[in-house]
């Protein structure tokens, strides 16, 4: 059940160009948080920003009730977040949305494909998969070398391939290029990233079963306003904030 939480920032780190890692302390138990879910963050103290900003949960330390998020500063909201200090508070709704349904899947080998700010939720997912004994191969795509983050963290959990669009680090090109070059074997794939990347992946891997996490500008973040929809293969729309952000790749139609 979604709650409104008053989180305390306990760690604040710049981990790549314009990219920040925050650890926030939750008063309530974090045990209900699943990989793929997001927190919906209020920006500022007054009403000048009327919309919350959705940020994926990158990791959870259940023992210490710490939630980790990673974000890139792209506008006013993320800039505000990046300026908050250790000891400061974050007002967030959580946990929001659906998760990668790993409890219902049997597999030996999972392929994770993340692009840019789509990388964070895959880390919590990777950790949970490894805990379940699943071996994990990860392909990470970034724009350029200075944007790369969490390569080592993923390496600790399995094979990792990094691609940069401009070739300044790792493989040159897109994550799909890496996929075709490496041809890893896997049972299910799990992906998160910009829509063009997801479109490429779901097209190239359409014979495989996979789960993708989508992004859309959100209003309420809880399923009430119909702002964040994606066309469904059965007609009609699905709400990304509530029925997603994680969908079976075959149930939604990417633009």
């Amino acid at each position: 059940m979604i709650r409104k939480a008053n989180l305390t920032i306990v760690h604040h780190e710049k981990i790549a160009e314009s990219t920040f890692l925050l650890h926030v302390l939750s008063e309530a138990s974090t045990l209900d948080i699943k990989p793929g879910q997001f927190i919906h963050i209020k920006i500022g103290q007054d009403h000048s920003h009327v919309l919350r900003r959705p940020i994926s949960i990158a990791d959870v330390d259940h023992t210490n009730k710490i939630i980790k998020i990673i974000f890139k500063t792209v506008g006013e909201g993320t800039s505000y977040l990046s300026q908050q200090k250790v000891g400061g508070k974050i007002d967030a709704l959580l946990p929001c949305g659906s998760s990668y349904p790993i409890d219902n899947l049997t597999m030996d080998h999972a392929l994770l494909i993340g692009g840019g700010i789509g990388v964070p939720p895959l880390y919590y997912l990777a950790k949970q998969l490894v805990e379940k004994g699943v071996s994990v191969t990860t392909i990470l795509g970034f724009q350029t070398a200075s944007h790369v983050f969490f390569e080592q963290e993923f390496k600790a959990l399995g094979d990792v391939y990094v691609a940069t669009n401009d070739g300044s680090y790792g493989h040159s090109g897109f994550v799909t290029d890496v996929y075709h070059a490496v041809k890893p074997s896997f049972d299910y794939y799990f992906s998160c990233g910009p829509t063009p990347m997801l479109k490429g992946i779901t097209t190239d891997l359409k014979e495989k079963q996979g789960y993708i996490s989508l992004e859309e500008r959100m209003g309420c973040g809880v399923g009430a306003c119909f702002a964040c929809v994606i066309p469904s293969v059965n007609g009609g729309y699905k709400k990304i904030c509530q029925q997603g952000p994680v969908f079976d790749a075959s149930e939604v139609i990417l633009a």
Partner: protein, 304 residues
């Protein structure tokens, strides 16, 4: 303190209700708090058939406000009655149904469909949705069309009819007068102002529909002005809305002439906003010397 208010067909425990389109059909917020606390609930717009709405992006933030162009997405009135309303029947809170359409006939059909439900205690006639028949003129901006649709829908319904006015007009009093004369039991105002944001990167309007409706604190002064002007000229109950975020804002709307208020955008910022405002209201009324909600209504017009 007595927070109750009486409007045509509605006895409200308090004057606070979520605004149409900002609260779905209540299900999501029922997980945050007991909906019995609310004065009433205005549900999302209903059309005759299911509508899928506009392409995304459908929302964008602006300074102290937001734009939306949802496009009346809804499962259709029959579906709403069959699948959405039953969950609300457990609450002792009046439901106001927001009636939308592209043609007068569609408005009539929707109003008629709601007639067969016990639950809906009033209709809010949404005459400010874009893309309608009659050469693109909007029902909410032409006094004649506004009056016509009011009359025809009123004839189809046995519950009070609140006509929701668009602020995108030269003369709000003229439209208010037209719908009042056509038999509206009350007014609901204001709907969103129309606005646009352009993305500097893509060089295109952010909202896929290009133009969207502006809501939130940014529009509050426009809402207060319009309610005040209408109240000066016409004696008709008003459900006020536009940028309300706290109990002080509610009092400002009451002073301007609103009999009750709806809270829209603020639900997104804080899902608990409605019960929080209800809890703060008695103290705020007391602080400014009012003994009840009814005592404050229209008091901004006394010292003229």
């Amino acid at each position: 303190m007595n927070l109750s208010v009486s409007l045509p067909g509605l006895k409200l425990k308090n004057p606070i209700m979520p605004a149409s389109g900002c609260f779905g059909f209540g299900a999501e917020y029922s997980k945050f708090y007991d909906l019995n606390q609310l004065g009433a609930i205005i549900i999302k717009a209903a059309t005759a058939e299911a509508r899928y709405g506009n392409p995304t992006p459908r929302v964008a933030e602006t300074s102290a406000g937001m734009l939306n162009a949802i496009g009346l997405q809804n499962p259709g009135v029959d579906n709403i009655i069959a699948n959405e309303l039953p969950a609300l029947s457990v609450y002792d809170t009046p439901i106001i149904a927001n009636v939308a359409g592209s043609t007068i006939e569609e408005y009539e059909m929707v109003a008629k469909a709601f007639k067969n439900t016990e639950q809906v205690e009033a209709l809010e006639l949404n005459i400010s949705c874009p893309n309608v028949k009659e050469g693109g003129v909007q029902f909410g901006t032409d006094p004649y069309l506004a009056s016509e649709v009011t009359k025809r829908v009123k004839a189809q319904s046995d519950v009070p009819l609140y006509v929701k006015l668009s602020p995108n007009v030269t003369n709000i009093v003229e439209i208010a007068n037209a719908v009042a004369k056509a038999g509206a039991d009350g007014l609901s105002m204001i709907n969103t102002l129309t606005g646009m944001r352009i993305d500097l990167q893509t060089r295109k309007p952010i909202i896929a529909n290009k133009i969207g409706g502006l809501s939130g604190p940014a529009i509050k002064p426009v809402a207060i002005r319009m309610i005040y002007q209408v109240k000066q000229q016409i004696d008709i109950p008003i459900i006020g809305m536009g940028g309300i975020t706290c109990a002080e804002d509610v009092l400002e709307f009451l002073l301007a002439g609103a009999n009750a208020v709806a809270v829209g955008t603020a639900n997104f910022e804080n899902p608990f906003i409605c019960p929080e405002i209800i809890a703060e209201l008695p103290e705020v009324l007391k602080k400014y010397g009012f003994s009840s909600v009814e005592d404050a209504i229209g008091k901004g017009h006394i010292n003229e």
